[in-house]
Symmetry: D2
Subunit: 360 residues, 4 copies
Amino acid sequence: MSHNTFGKMLRLTTWGESHGEAIGCVLDGCPPNIELSIDEIQSYLDKRKPGQSKYTTQRKEDDKIEILSGTIKSNSGNHLTTGTPISLLIKNKDQRSRDYGEINDKFRPGHADFTYIKKYGLRDYRGGGRSSARETAMRVAGGAIARKIIPDIRIRAALVQMGPHEINRNNWDWDLINKNPFFCPDPEIIDTWEEYLQKIRKDGDSTGAIIEVIAENVPSGLGEPIYGKLDQEIASGMMSINAVKAVEIGAGFKTASMTGSQNADQIVINDGNVEFLSNNAGGILGGISTGQDIIVRFAVKPTSSILKPVKTIDINEKETEISTRGRHDPCVGIRAVPIGEAMLALTLADNFIRNRGQIG
Amino acid sequence: MSHNTFGKMLRLTTWGESHGEAIGCVLDGCPPNIELSIDEIQSYLDKRKPGQSKYTTQRKEDDKIEILSGTIKSNSGNHLTTGTPISLLIKNKDQRSRDYGEINDKFRPGHADFTYIKKYGLRDYRGGGRSSARETAMRVAGGAIARKIIPDIRIRAALVQMGPHEINRNNWDWDLINKNPFFCPDPEIIDTWEEYLQKIRKDGDSTGAIIEVIAENVPSGLGEPIYGKLDQEIASGMMSINAVKAVEIGAGFKTASMTGSQNADQIVINDGNVEFLSNNAGGILGGISTGQDIIVRFAVKPTSSILKPVKTIDINEKETEISTRGRHDPCVGIRAVPIGEAMLALTLADNFIRNRGQIG
Amino acid sequence: MSHNTFGKMLRLTTWGESHGEAIGCVLDGCPPNIELSIDEIQSYLDKRKPGQSKYTTQRKEDDKIEILSGTIKSNSGNHLTTGTPISLLIKNKDQRSRDYGEINDKFRPGHADFTYIKKYGLRDYRGGGRSSARETAMRVAGGAIARKIIPDIRIRAALVQMGPHEINRNNWDWDLINKNPFFCPDPEIIDTWEEYLQKIRKDGDSTGAIIEVIAENVPSGLGEPIYGKLDQEIASGMMSINAVKAVEIGAGFKTASMTGSQNADQIVINDGNVEFLSNNAGGILGGISTGQDIIVRFAVKPTSSILKPVKTIDINEKETEISTRGRHDPCVGIRAVPIGEAMLALTLADNFIRNRGQIG
Amino acid sequence: MSHNTFGKMLRLTTWGESHGEAIGCVLDGCPPNIELSIDEIQSYLDKRKPGQSKYTTQRKEDDKIEILSGTIKSNSGNHLTTGTPISLLIKNKDQRSRDYGEINDKFRPGHADFTYIKKYGLRDYRGGGRSSARETAMRVAGGAIARKIIPDIRIRAALVQMGPHEINRNNWDWDLINKNPFFCPDPEIIDTWEEYLQKIRKDGDSTGAIIEVIAENVPSGLGEPIYGKLDQEIASGMMSINAVKAVEIGAGFKTASMTGSQNADQIVINDGNVEFLSNNAGGILGGISTGQDIIVRFAVKPTSSILKPVKTIDINEKETEISTRGRHDPCVGIRAVPIGEAMLALTLADNFIRNRGQIG
């Protein structure tokens, strides 16, 4: 039972609070003899980093990652894993905890403030402490290493809906993803999103979003029925991301209104290869990967820390209002894009390790 | 790592195949001194049992549950738990495996046939073997015991969408649930569902559905951040149910199109008690229960075994068609209603045990 | 956290009380495509079975094992594993619970009666309930299957000390083990043991013993540092056997009085192969198997249920004496021989599965 | 499955190599609202620290512990736990890896060099990397925190045998323990040990030892049958310590030569309290604590790195000799005394947390 650990054989244990000295993680179970480049890990972290555009929190953090254990020097001067636990650390820089004065005494609706007090009797109020999205930096770092364990699998994600504005899937362009501040794959919707987000910010408000994560070139046979289904572990991973309230695989909720014959991903032989005529299953049947792309979508609710005043109570259970100052993402879903990728990478690498010597 | 086990401190391990001699489970971690009535457990099983109405599979199974261990006789002649593992068993009766002749050699699209072969190199083709919904009987039995561990929490579920037909939530009537074959809470939609399902069946097809599960009177403080969030464990539980492809908590995917001020469940004091003005969070903030109702929805895809022929391949990777005869639910989502309840009961009881002496 | 489960990837969950209707287990994680013969499993159970000689309890149990799930029929009519959980069951026959009248109210010194009441507030007093050695039948059954997962490894055990009488290791003859009622490898000590045990029994007393278990042809590389050391998992397995109070690997406690140069298992090359000049390490260095024989010894304390009266208290904390009638082993260590083998087989098979595709 | 993690609800995950930049751990599951003093944690580390006397390695390490997460400031300026993971770190100072030149290419008999290469295909040869006793510093730090979770339980340990020289238990004086370099409780044997160790060191050799750990004031009811027995978890913890090859509870191996009536810890009522007339069970019956003192003994084999040349092979499987220079403990068992205490503290605190709200 490990509440701060994700994974079964590849295990990511994270630690650290938003406004503590540092955050870090231990990644245990990484196979030996894998070459890691600090620059490569850093490049994933940079995608999640705060302060990247005017649409994300202006907190200034380098998010500079250090590897403290688990590797020796490779011939090319990189890190070479040894099979022992990899300890990663990021020192916090811009902690500016003075911004959080008011939330010391009041509960932000929609935020974990209320429940942490209920559970623990106290909390680290500085920037949300452990419940802050800052923790997710370590997921991205762990995910970057997980990718090296399954180098043949390509994992990418995109924002597919911001507020009420959904992309047109026919416009999907993977190349666009890293060329706009929203990880948006549809060139035609970017302006709409930009305007919408400006307005939201001006209103002192925030917005929700939907992220889609896709893994290509997945071997069939990953996932363990009955209670270690790949769908389960993916859903668990995505639901562990801050502010996520929904997750679906493949056609997801749409399957409810389908008939069996519509939903059936029919199978043919094409050029000697097994081919599915659709992918409503999102690459998973009976909890086991089929070999098709794995497709996951999850919803991120709007940031709870907003300037717009809302009714709440204080720690003495007196009624009051709260208007949260400080540097917050108007759409925290944007920065969830690299996090969703990381969670899928960690889940697949974990399943891959479990199936070593067994499948494809 | 326990692929056939659900839960951390209250652990349900299920075993058995659809057409084997018996199915069963071991429920480990149940506290001592809890009185169990076989009739009460049976009453939950009867709700899930096949052959209950013309809308569920006509397989005839008594689903008569036996308790083989973990209890002594209570003063009133019931079972009294001793804290040791509870072994439950149901003998299979109506196995009629001749019905499954054709699927020995062909893969049903949408079914686990394909992936089991890919993973294990062989499978128990008789009625889907382990991937059959028959396994879920033991979840319902385990869930019935889980309820006795958390007697103050009330857990109920309903079918809220069948195919494209959604209920009107204003008509919600809990009393109706057990008085119609669909676990439907809306009197005005029953006829529509009935007609729709008749048509689907006549077409040799099947349909998907959405189930909503609600837990009332939940204490605040259940759930373990960061990677043992209550949302995670509920999502994992629901995703472990056969044919489930999506799950959401509270407002779920709708939060994506909300603003922060709309989504915020504002807090007031009413008659001296903390009261939330809405429940978009579905009773969970930061992975921890708030004390509000827990609200979960999940989608069940249409049954994959349909009479309507669909393209597929056989085990020699030759193209063919398949038309699945046999007794199948035209809407397997109906029987998922008591299963969803059971998974939530198991999840909450497990979390309750973990927090013994800490909360409430 | 699974208190009735042993193993990590190969997981044995046992259930059932000494005087309940049946005992059983679920073995989860067994690879598919392994052929199992009921007769072979039964042959191991028969070695542990009560009533085998006048030196073991006269309770009459067939211990007839049934396989309820996890297999299909192989071409030769045997069971073929499918990768799904294997459910095993033994119906209890000779429960004769009337023998246990007195221990309903009194605590047997050295027995779990006292602690079960302290922990659970109640207990199944009939024959010790769950704390009875009857549970170990399922370990032997599970161990028999575990052996088939690691067919190249040979696991055997012997009784090496009964009461104060130790064998002479120079006389060690494996062929003798199954030809005497004590699993004794030394022909010269059998008479001494026989006389000693007769006397012990006549006195209404019991005696302790030491068992040695040896695994040959073990691949190097099994075991996981730092906290999943092979020594740890073996020690944990042996300590889980009823009445075991001590365990050692290789030279064990003797290493305390050795010097480093004496203890060093020096390494040479013999005929092109790595060869160790001794095996004080018992085949494990740094928690990982070396490829040498694994050697484990454990002590079983004397049976706590004895006719000879000893001071104790009753459940009302009144002083009294107890003299336990009923059918008890005068040296429960004898029947621990096949159990020790089983625990080592389960531990090694579990480690083997974890290392699939990695070693050997 | 967590190979670098110890414990179930209180989980210590350690990381770091002997000659890396730092070593550290994450302690997850510590309850909130516990006050921690850095000085107090440091005081336990100082007992284990190298270079304390001429009888331990002369490596110079401050072993200065830092707390990086999991606490806020208490009113008295100490650390107050919040229920989130506690990250601890010690920077390595005196790494002097040049001393280890020769062992880059040769395997030290009795050391993990050989098995790490066999398992991982490579290793961090600098000072043994992860298999070095340096890792145990984090156990002592974790154990110091564990003690604060169970403040009523007193845990102490002593060296009871060095080489062939055993203490006289009648001389046992707890006050002496911290006043001599051996943690010896018997004033009359100190000179003998001193002479013996001088001789051993002069010979370029090393010696084994036996440590005894005792926990007083333990509540009854800790430990989980059947496979989470307190004996099991204690044995597992002790066997996880470097160089430990044997462990026993209470009378341990001596029970083998006892009769049942000798071994029975008879129970009487003394002054209204339950009293046992002996403690052969070492405070544990049926895997559950009785309330008596818990008594554990374990053997530490002689240090494998010795100056005295022994036969071995190099990484090219050529025969050679090795004579290990560098700074090594002639009796590594001495520094195992505080480690044994820490492992028992971690085990008991873990069990205490699991039983919150249930016992005592």
